[in-house]
């Protein structure tokens, strides 16, 4: 079973090939160039250097959101394009879940956070135990304050912050929540490896979709909307 996975949902971009659970290759860039310029050269190079043809791939996985508007579209559109003619199965992975699957090196809570601006984050919580990832809540947009309050329920455990909202939250939380840690920088952000590992779970649960069914996933940020309206009325 070979899985090809990509992530372009935020500032980093990555592509990976997983074969029977083993990482054959992964390409990761975190630079300012747009993904539309980096993703395809990375993908091409990955296939060439692993000596794998796109026809050998059984499942195409992508972080389908949440994330940046354009980034999510680039990833989903790319995978749609690659599977358009073959109609190979696709795995629509939550970016936040991919983060948790990318760092199963400890036991504790993963708080995956992406900056949604205006003191809001895209977030989900996961429990890691013996390399297993268990989801504790659905993906959502939530204010940093609300998240901080909710994390009071996990005071007895170590909570690891991952994602591009991690530093933002760490600064906001660390005074009241001494049990909160930052995941090391090199594995803090979503990687295509995590996307592929999350896809393995979807495969085992029979939750793949067709190229046609694959769609971007956007979360609404209702609080940001309210705040904008309130300030405009002032």
């Amino acid at each position: 079973m070979k899985i090809f996975a990509i992530d372009t949902t935020a500032s980093p971009a990555s592509a990976a090939i997983l074969s029977d659970g083993r990482l054959l290759g992964e390409y990761y860039l975190n630079i300012k160039t747009t993904h539309s310029q980096t993703l395809m050269p990375m993908t091409e190079s990955l296939f060439k250097n692993t000596n794998i043809s796109i026809d050998d791939i059984d499942v195409f996985a992508v972080n389908a959101g949440p994330g940046s508007f354009t980034g999510v579209r680039i990833g989903v559109a790319s995978i749609k394009g690659m599977t358009f003619t073959s109609d190979k199965p696709c795995a629509s992975v939550s970016t936040l879940e991919a983060m948790a699957f990318g760092i199963p090196y400890f036991s504790g809570i993963v708080c995956a956070v992406m900056d949604a601006r205006c003191a809001q984050v895209y977030n989900a919580l996961f429990r890691l135990e013996n390399g297993e990832v268990r989801r504790l809540c659905e993906d959502r947009a939530i204010s940093i304050q609300e998240l901080s309050d909710e994390l009071n329920n996990y005071k007895d455990e170590t909570v690891y912050l991952a994602g591009d909202g991690a530093e933002l939250c760490f600064r906001a939380f660390s005074e009241n929540l001494p049990n909160v840690r930052l995941v090391p920088e090199n594995i803090r952000f979503q990687h295509a490896y995590g996307t592929a590992k999350a896809a393995e779970r979807l495969i085992s649960e029979g939750k793949l979709c067709t190229s046609d069914e694959l769609m971007p996933i956007y979360l609404r940020v209702p609080q940001a909307e309210r705040e904008l309206k309130a300030r405009q009325q002032k």
Partner: protein, 140 residues
């Protein structure tokens, strides 16, 4: 805070050209001022200062224009952008840190602008006279 007075669109452009010389390449420049204040003229001058000599016009319909000069310049018009969802789906947040962002009608999206930015406020004094306030920039 620096305050200037200009007597023509050309003088407004020249002022912006001077501001352009102080830029490092990834600034967010938020422009405030109503219809006909000279926001696009200011942007034209700014672009010229970065080696972009033509093609600058108001992106009211396209929402964003991209120009390539000494740095990339992303020229936004937020006139019709009034909700967070609108702003998000322009891809606005994806541009941060990638070049110089110049934003007309910043009034509409002010809560979402980064704190570290340059504010340009243009006040219309008469048909040709403008008072231009620049905040957050190096001295020009």
């Amino acid at each position: 805070m620096q305050k200037f007075f200009t007597n023509s669109a050309e003088q407004t452009e020249q002022l912006a050209e001077r501001l352009a010389k102080t830029l490092g390449g990834c600034e967010v420049i938020a422009m405030f001022g109503g219809l006909g204040a000279g926001k696009t003229a200011f942007t034209r001058g700014l672009a010229r200062g970065l080696g972009i000599d033509e093609g600058v016009c108001s992106p009211t319909f396209a929402l964003v224009h991209e120009y390539e000069g000494k740095f990339m310049v992303y020229h936004f018009d937020m006139y019709r952008v009034t909700t967070y969802d609108d702003l998000y789906s322009t891809g606005f947040f994806d541009y941060e840190g990638c070049g110089v962002m110049v934003i007309e009608w910043s009034e509409n999206i002010e809560p979402f602008l980064p704190e570290n930015r340059i504010n340009i406020t243009i006040r219309t004094l008469s048909e040709n006279e403008r008072e231009i306030t620049i905040e957050g920039a190096e001295e020009i």
